[in-house]
Symmetry: C2
Subunit: 338 residues, 2 copies
DNA sequence: CCTGGCACTCATTAGCCACGAGTGCCAGAA
DNA sequence: TTCTGGCACTCGTGGCTAATGAGTGCCAGG
């Protein structure tokens, strides 16, 4: 078990290393922090911390840097979430208030997060599975061609072309539109399949294939578009990886371009509270020297999507966590209002 | 005036420099290219080329590298566009054929371009100004709240919430929807304002404010959404700037994150043929050591948007131009089919 | 106008050395 | 026990010098 002071030493190491980006030695530590003990004592503590795997020497007889395990302990036990200043809060609010539609909200959020944390920001579009239907519209484009438009409560719009097996009359279309909406509006996407199951039966025999086709496309849209979209920003901040530059940044950029990777990354986020994944805790190889700080957000109690940042393991965790949490809250508010 | 052989020397310098990424000397040149003259002669030619500003020495008595002006001459006079191989063409086709909707087409195009050229790819969404209206839909969400959905011939969908001054009946809405569509469907966005100008007059006096509000929102959408969207990909390829890495890559990444910059960049593209902007020809400072190769694309004769790549001035121009042109053609085909 | 020869330039690399931040260990004090 | 001061040792960093070699400009002669 680690004594109180040893934890204090670890905290000091993390803080100094994050600040200076250089391995930190025992002497420097005692000078910058009031630990009340001599460098020699700190050295002993460091030896213990190293044995336990919390810190590490880049090479023999250099200063120490935290390991992933060290950061983990720091995040879990030694540091809280740093709340934003009033000025920052105001900045967030005024920046997000100007958004005109969902795309804009997401775009602004990405910029905001990137600027605030000086890291790469990742924002997932509000997910369809957990949203509800606001409206389904059917438009006749040609005799046997219908456009299906799906509008969600988060303001997202999806459209699909439907090629019908036979020409479809305006009245049938209006009928279908009305019945469809009366059944599904306000319901969750996941409930839609069972709600529309018997709908074809209530139509004339001739129209049933058409109705079935339209419904099939609707269900397909629900499934397909559950592949969620993600917006990325602030990649220029990666250049602050001053160290072994090309080597580090390359795989990170590659990973960030893979929507799949990002989705998986965000998928591992807990439903409540800020989630931090440090270094090798991230499954993806290219991200093994980065940390992900993410959190769910939503218009109500429940999270409909996630947002967060990706940065070097050597990051200011309390500040980053504070910024991510705050932004998520404001975005949630904005979504609830619209 | 430059003699034939001197141009040949310039071409050789560009080709070698692009290949090796190192300043090229007179001896190496005569070895790799059958110029039929001795290194000494080449040196004299080089001296002339340097005096004319086509090439440059990084420092006294090193090899030569092309200047922006040198690349310009190379692109304009010395090199054509290299057509793709049959295999590459097939790859493009099969890759793009799988796309399901407009977003997907753009996303796939970006990936394709990035992979093909090994550079940063930029694709502009088909522009609204040059598109035509396929359908306008009005949905009643609440008594005094209407959702306006605009569908373009390129498959793009835009929606806006409209808060009306007074409750609006279903019949009025249906009436407006019908008249609106009969007037604007098939017409260009730029023609819409004059087409709907007198529309409010044909409604009951009480409904005119509502109609006017809806129309205002429609026109606003046309203008606002003319701010065009852009998709970016392949930023990981920037790491192939091996040279003065952080210094070079930073401003480039920053520039690429600014939609405005990208739009301005693509805005300068000629309407026909592949446009190449080299180094300082790009207005933006951060892009002064990159070149942009871009071209318009569209479903018909006319370009509705642009796509291209951004890479180091030291790039394989013929190959890049070939790839960009080929991709643009296929995307145009895909759009025309849908 | 082209060529071979020659002296010169200068970035790069390797080798060397002094410096100093940092360590581990140990004996003695608290 | 726990902490401290002292001390020898490690090793990356930075400055210096010398050797290397690719590349140049210039010139005299074909």
């Amino acid at each position: 078990m680690l004594s109180e002071r040893r934890l204090e030493v670890l905290r000091a190491i993390v803080q100094d290393y994050v600040g200076t980006e250089e391995p930190v030695g025992s002497k420097a530590l005692t000078e910058r922090h009031r630990l009340g003990v001599s460098p020699a004592t700190v050295r002993n503590d460091m030896a213990v911390l190293e044995e336990e795997g919390f810190i590490q020497q880049p090479y023999t007889s250099a200063g120490r840097i935290p390991t992933d395990k060290g950061y983990r302990l720091f995040v879990d036990k030694l540091a809280g979430v740093k709340p934003l200043t009033a000025a920052e809060r105001r900045a967030i609010q005024s920046f997000l208030d100007g958004a005109v539609d969902l795309d804009d909200v997401v775009a602004r959020t990405v910029r905001l997060l990137a600027q605030l944390t000086r890291q790469v920001a990742v924002v997932q579009y509000p997910s369809l599975t957990r949203s509800t239907v606001r409206h389904v519209e059917l438009l006749s484009l040609a005799p046997a061609r219908v456009m299906l438009v799906l509008i969600t409560d988060t303001g997202r719009v999806e459209q699909r072309l439907v090629d019908c097996p036979s020409p479809v009359g305006e009245t049938v279309l209006a009928d279908l539109r009305a019945r469809l909406n009366s059944r599904v509006v306000g319901h969750r996407f996941s409930d839609v399949p069972s709600l529309v199951q018997d709908l074809p039966d209530s139509f004339e025999h001739d129209d049933r294939p058409t109705v079935a086709t339209v419904l099939a496309t609707l269900l397909e849209t629900l499934v397909e578009e559950t592949e969620e979209r993600i917006m990325l920003g602030g990649t220029a901040n990666l250049t602050r990886f001053n160290h072994d530059f090309p080597l580090t940044i390359r795989p990170v950029l590659e990973a960030l371009e893979e929507q799949v990777v990002l989705l998986k990354l965000l998928g591992e986020v807990k439903d409540s509270g800020v989630t931090v994944r440090i270094g090798h805790e991230n499954a993806h190889e290219g991200l093994s020297s980065t940390s992900v700080v993410a959190v769910g957000y939503g218009s109500g109690d429940e999270a409909v999507a996630r947002l967060g940042v990706v940065g070097p393991t050597r990051m200011d965790y309390p500040g980053t966590m504070g910024a991510v949490r705050a932004v998520a809250r404001y975005v949630g508010q904005i979504l609830a209002e619209s």
